[in-house]
Amino acid sequence: MKENVVTLKGAGKSYDNVDALKSIDLVLPEGEVLGLFGHNGAGKTTMMKLILGVISASEGDVSVFGVTPTSQEAWHMRSQIGYLPENVSFYEHLTGLEVLTYFTRLKGYNKQDALALLEQVGLSHAHNRQVKTYSKGMRQRLGLAQAFIGNPKLLLLDEPTVGLDPIATNEFYQTVDQLKTHGASIILCSHVLPGVEQHIDRAMILSQGKQLAIGSLADLRAQAELQVSIKPQGVNGAVVEDSILSKYWSEEQKMLLVPESAKVTVLRKLLEHEALNDVSISPATLTQLYQHYIGQEQPNHILRESKSTGGSNE
C-alpha cells in the first residue's frame, strides 16, 4: 500500500482573527501530483507554509511523513522536502553555482551535486555568472534546481512555470513526470491553467481560504456537470433535424454541448450519419472547471459574509 505523504485534517490558519485558511482536508499519497489552484490570496502559499512547518496550524492537524512538520521529529524530514517559493530572488552578487552550492551544503550535499543540478535545469553554461545578470527564466530554473536538491520525496512548487518559455515549461513538466515515477509526491501551485492538466492526478480549488473542490479532473467534471463539446463536420443540417441531437445543438457555437452521461449516446447517433467526415470532442478544460467552481462560490461568499458579521462571537 502506498503511504500518505501529506495529511491535512480540518487544518486552518488565522492571523489576528482573519482566516487565511479554513478547514482543509487533504490526503496526498506517495507518487501523486496535486494541482493547487486559486486566486491571489486564496491561501495557497499559507497551505504550503503549513505543510513545510514554517507556521503552525491554528486548528486541525497537519501531518507530513507521519509527523507534525513543526515538531522536533520533523527535523530530518526537511532534507526530503523541496520547496520553490513564489518570487524568490537569490543572492544577486553571487554566481549561480555559488548560490546553489550554499543551498546544497545546507541540505548535506556538495558542490558536485550543485553542478549536476545546474546541468539538469540547463544552466551549466551560466554557472559562473552572477545571478544579477540572469533572465527571469534563468532565475526560475535556479530556483527549481534548488528545489530538486537531494531528490526530494515531497515537492512544493509555487508558480514553477512563471517566466519559463514554452520549451522550458515543457522540460519542467518532463522533470515533474520523472520525479513522480520515482515516487515523489508533488504539490503544484499555478495560475497558468492550460498545459497543467495532463501532469496532475488531482486538483484542489481554493478560494478565500476555503476548499471549494478536490478530486481528479474526471471527478470534478462529473461533479460540476459541465458539458462536453462535440464538433461534428459535414452533418450540420442533419443534426438540427435529428430529434435527439437537436436538443444539444448550440447554434451560436456551431457545436453540440453534451453532458458527460449522454456523450456516448450522442456519438453513436452521430456515427449513423453517412455525411459525417470528422468529429472533435473536447471535455471541459481546467479553466472552465476553475471558473465554474469560483463562479459558484461568489454569491455564497457574499451570503456568508453577511452571516458572519451577525454572529462574530462563534
Binding site: V54, P85, R105, L106
Partner: protein, 272 residues
C-alpha cells in the same frame, strides 16, 4: 559540514566580496597610522605622539567609526533576506533559526573583527618596531580586543533592528538613529544633566549609567588605562572611580551576548 559553519562561511565571503572587508581595513589602517604619526601636529610639533595620547585619539575615533560600520554591514542581514524571499526558503531547510543567527553572526562578526585587528594592528606593529613591543603590546591588546567587542556588540544590535522591522529602509533609518544615540546623544544628555544639576548623580552613579552604553564602556576600558592628562570631558570624572578593566570587559561582553540572545528570541517568535 556543520550548518553554522556553512552560513558563517557564506556571510564571511559576502563580506570579502562586496569589499567591506578591504575598505574597513584600509580606513582603519590609514587613520590609525595617521593618528600615530601625525597626532602631535595639533599641539604644534611633528613626531610620534606619546603612546597614551595615541591610544586616546584612536579610541575617540574608533568609538564613532566601529559602531557605524558594524551597523552598516549587518542592518539588512535578516530584513534583506526576508524581502528577497530567501529567508522563508532557508527556514524550510534543515537548519534552525538559532543556527542561522549564529552563523551570520560568526561570518559578519568575523569580517569586523579581522578588519579591526588588521587595520589597527598595522599601526601597533609599526609603533612596536619603533618603541619596542613590550611597551606597545599591552595597551594595543586592550585597545584592539575591546574594539572588536564593540564591533560585535553593534553587529548584534543591528540584528535586533533587522529582526524587528519588515522593511529594509526602516532598518537603515533605525540603525542610524541607534548609532546617533549611542555615539553622540547619550553622552551629551549625560553631560547636560551633570552641568545643569548639582549632586543628582554621584560619581559612582555616573559610572553605572555609562555602562548602559556600549560605546561608553569601550571608552572607559581604554581611558582607564591611560594617563588622566590625555583625557577630558565627562570621562575624566569617572576614570578615578571606574570599575576594573576586567569588570568593564565583562560588561562589554554582556553587550554582545544580550542583544544576540534577545535577537534570537525575537527571531524564534517571528512569523514569516
Amino acid at each position: 559540514m556543520n550548518k553554522v559553519f556553512i552560513v558563517a562561511n557564506k556571510e564571511f565571503h559576502d563580506g570579502l566580496r562586496n569589499r567591506w572587508f578591504v575598505s574597513i581595513t584600509l580606513i582603519f589602517a590609514v587613520l590609525s597610522l595617521g593618528l600615530s604619526y601625525y597626532g602631535t601636529v595639533v599641539s604644534g610639533s611633528i613626531g610620534v605622539a606619546s603612546l597614551s595620547s595615541t591610544i586616546a585619539s584612536l579610541a575617540s575615533l574608533a568609538v564613532f567609526l566601529i559602531p557605524l560600520i558594524a551597523l552598516l554591514v549587518s542592518y539588512d542581514s535578516f530584513v534583506g533576506e526576508q524581502e528577497s524571499g530567501t529567508l522563508l526558503l532557508l527556514l524550510t531547510y534543515p537548519i534552525s533559526k538559532t543556527q542561522l543567527l549564529i552563523g551570520k553572526f560568526v561570518g559578519q562578526g568575523g569580517i569586523i573583527a579581522l578588519a579591526t585587528l588588521l587595520g589597527f594592528g598595522t599601526s601597533a606593529a609599526l609603533l612596536s618596531y619603533q618603541q619596542g613591543i613590550e611597551n606597545v603590546a599591552p595597551a594595543f591588546t586592550l585597545f584592539i580586543s575591546s574594539a572588536i567587542l564593540l564591533g560585535l556588540s553593534f553587529t548584534a544590535l543591528a540584528y535586533l533592528i533587522s529582526l524587528l522591522v519588515n522593511e529594509k529602509s526602516k532598518a537603515a533609518g533605525l540603525a542610524l538613529v541607534l548609532w546617533f544615540f549611542f555615539a553622540l546623544v547619550f553622552d551629551l544628555a549625560l553631560l547636560a544633566v551633570l552641568v545643569g544639576t548639582e549632586d543628582v548623580i554621584s560619581q559612582h552613579g555616573l559610572t553605572y549609567i555609562m555602562l548602559l552604553n556600549p560605546a561608553d564602556v569601550f571608552r572607559l576600558v581604554n581611558f582607564a588605562a591611560l594617563d588622566a592628562t590625555d583625557v577630558n570631558g565627562v570621562l575624566a570624572m569617572t576614570i578615578q572611580t571606574s570599575a576594573s578593566p576586567a569588570q568593564l570587559f565583562v560588561t562589554l561582553l554582556l553587550w554582545v551576548i544580550m542583544p544576540l540572545t534577545i535577537a534570537n528570541f525575537i527571531f524564534k517568535k517571528s512569523k514569516i
